[in-house]
Amino acid sequence: MSETIAFKPESLAQVHKIIARYPEGRQKSALLPVLHLAQKEFGGWLDVPVMDYVAGLLDIQPIEVYEVATFYTMFNMKPVGKYVLEVCRTGPCMVCGSEKILNHIRTKLNIKDGETTEDGMFTLKPAECLGACGYAPMMQLGKFYHENLTIEKVDEILDLCRQGQVALD
């Protein structure tokens, strides 16, 4: 385990608070919430040393962390941009024009699905249903949903991102 990897004290306190939600000896149940915390604190993705650190904190084997982290789509296994644009494209969003939104972003940022812009600002991730079907098309940016998107609204959001004015948390 790298010695340079460690949660900030307030995050570590949060980890212990999460572990306390479960019966003694069931601290593995804290894995998903702790991975969310780790991803947020350690650069938006989970590299092996970070996952090993989490395994140590929860007193479980590293493989138990790897198999979980790679199973769930919200955990990034490679570096991502500052803003991860997760655009829903399933069923109802498709009906309401999500493909147009995706194509616009692909063209405007000159990236393909899963890629990050050269300046490290944006990553595009098409998503499969984000539970905003009545407010489609939509995308998730950090903690929040941006709904009823139009091309103009997307442009505005991207501009605000560049100005650092879009909240992620």
Partner: protein, 450 residues
């Protein structure tokens, strides 16, 4: 106008907060319940006829009565807030705007089931909602409705919120429990059922958000009164999340006595289809339930009006009917391409298959590839039969219902829209620039009478 039970106060500013909720009569059902015995609460839930609102529609009271009660072994209530079915966003509405209805329902349900520690497992993408729920939990705790010795009854109850990591399969109850234990969301073999061996092998009840919220009005007005609302075995009210080609998408509470036609066309609900377009088809219960063409959606095969309830929507079985499911109501107008829509759903199920069972792991990807070919004008006529064959080999052959959920949309699309699939194969160039629309449609679609 439908009777409202869950959303009756949704319009009130600040209803998200304890003080306002309490002023509107919030937590009086909990006070009432805590003076009853757990068995009396269970009898009220049974009398209500409440059916699980997550999609399966299994009677909630019966499910609760299966809970094992071994001496000295803790039991748990786990609320399934993993809502990830395309078309379904009703639980999000409840949690975001009326969190105390869920917390109060959990308190009553936990008391009935003997759960001193209950969990809400919420899909990870709803990442702002845990804050809302945790705030509501803290408020309830500060007011003495959670924590130790609640209202002096000696009953202790803590509620915790757990975020998932983004996996549709975790909506399946045993996969959810695996995930809550910090593992991959692989469904478990049943039996044993969670009621016997659930979370950490302890007896556990897993219920949908809306089901648990419904316990509040059930205790409030009594199970028998609740059962008088609705019709037949579709008792009480149901939240419907409506989306797609409609004028007023959103979450509606209905009492299950209205017709599908009223729901789509009346101003009280969806407000009709934009730009005067004609209705082509609908998926009324979330993406996994069979799509039905307009003529079979509005009327049953016997020419009776189709109603928004469990029995009427299922009338005729899958051949001519569909399911209430989760109430995720997706409307498609005449410009929508059924092949493309089915392809996106196949892609979804392929993406979300946990990979544990071969028919699901391999079959969902195979169906997606074939549908993509047909949609892109590269399909062959035999591909349609192959698709039919693959979905039949998935259905019923997997540990959990995701296999069925992946198979049914494909089966129904071919069953009702085979002409459109064949048109894609016969007119490969045309299908890239045009939609099949309602051409050669089997039956004329009636003009709305509402």
């Amino acid at each position: 106008m439908s009777k409202k039970l869950l959303l009756k106060d949704a319009h009130i500013e600040g209803i998200r907060y304890f003080e306002t909720y309490r002023k509107q009569g919030g937590y009086t059902a909990a006070e009432k319940a805590l003076k009853m015995t757990p068995d009396e609460i269970l009898e009220e839930v049974k009398a209500s006829g409440l059916r699980g609102r997550g999609g399966a529609g299994f009677p909630t009271g019966m499910k609760w009565s299966f809970l094992a009660k071994p001496e000295g072994v803790p039991r748990h209530l786990v609320v399934n807030a993993d809502e990830s079915e395309p078309g379904t966003f009703k639980d999000r509405y409840l949690m975001e705007f009326l969190p105390h209805v869920l917390i109060e329902g959990m308190l009553i349900s936990s008391f009935c089931l003997g759960s001193n520690v209950s969990y809400i497992y919420i899909r990870g993408e709803y990442s702002w909602i845990p804050d809302i729920l945790e705030e509501a939990i803290e408020e309830a705790k500060a007011a003495g409705f959670l924590g130790k010795n609640i209202l002096g009854t000696g009953f202790d109850c803590e509620i915790y919120v757990q975020r998932g990591g983004g996996a549709y399969i975790c909506g399946e109850e045993t996969a959810l429990l695996e995930s809550l234990e910090g593992k991959r969301g692989n469904p478990r073999l049943k039996p044993p059922f969670p009621a016997v061996k659930g979370l950490w092998e302890r007896p556990t009840v897993v219920n949908n958000v809306e089901s648990i919220a419904a316990v509040v009005p059930i205790i409030d007005i009594g199970g028998a009164e609740y059962a008088k609302i609705g019709v037949g075995r579709s008792t009480g009210t149901k939240l419907i999340s409506a989306c797609g080609n409609i004028n007023k998408p959103g979450v509606y509470e209905i009492d299950m006595t209205i017709t599908v036609e009223e729901f789509i066309y009346s101003d009280e609900y969806c407000g009709g289809i934009p730009n005067g377009k004609r209705l082509k088809a609908c998926i009324p219960g979330g993406s996994s339930v069979p799509i039905v063409p307009a003529n079979l959606l509005l009327k049953t095969v016997n020419g009776e009006p189709r109603y928004m309830n469990y029995e009427s929507l299922a009338d005729g079985g899958f051949a001519t009917g569909t399911m209430m499911g989760s109430g995720g109501f997706i409307v498609l107008d005449e410009d929508q391409c059924v092949v493309e829509h089915t392809m996106t759903l196949a892609r979804f199920y392929n993406h979300e298959s946990c990979g544990q069972c071969t028919p699901c792991r391999e079959g969902t990807g195979w169906m997606y590839k074939i549908l993509k070919k047909i949609e892109n004008g590269q399909g062959k006529m035999e591909d349609i039969d192959l698709l039919w064959d693959i979905q039949r080999k998935i259905e019923g052959n997997t540990i959990c219902p995701l296999g069925d959920a992946a198979a049914w949309p494909v089966a129904a699309a071919i069953r009702h829209f085979r002409d459109e699939f064949e048109w894609h194969v016969k007119k490969p160039e045309l299908c890239l620039t045009q939609n099949y629309g309602l051409a050669n449609y089997a039956d004329p679609i009636p003009a709305p009478s509402v």
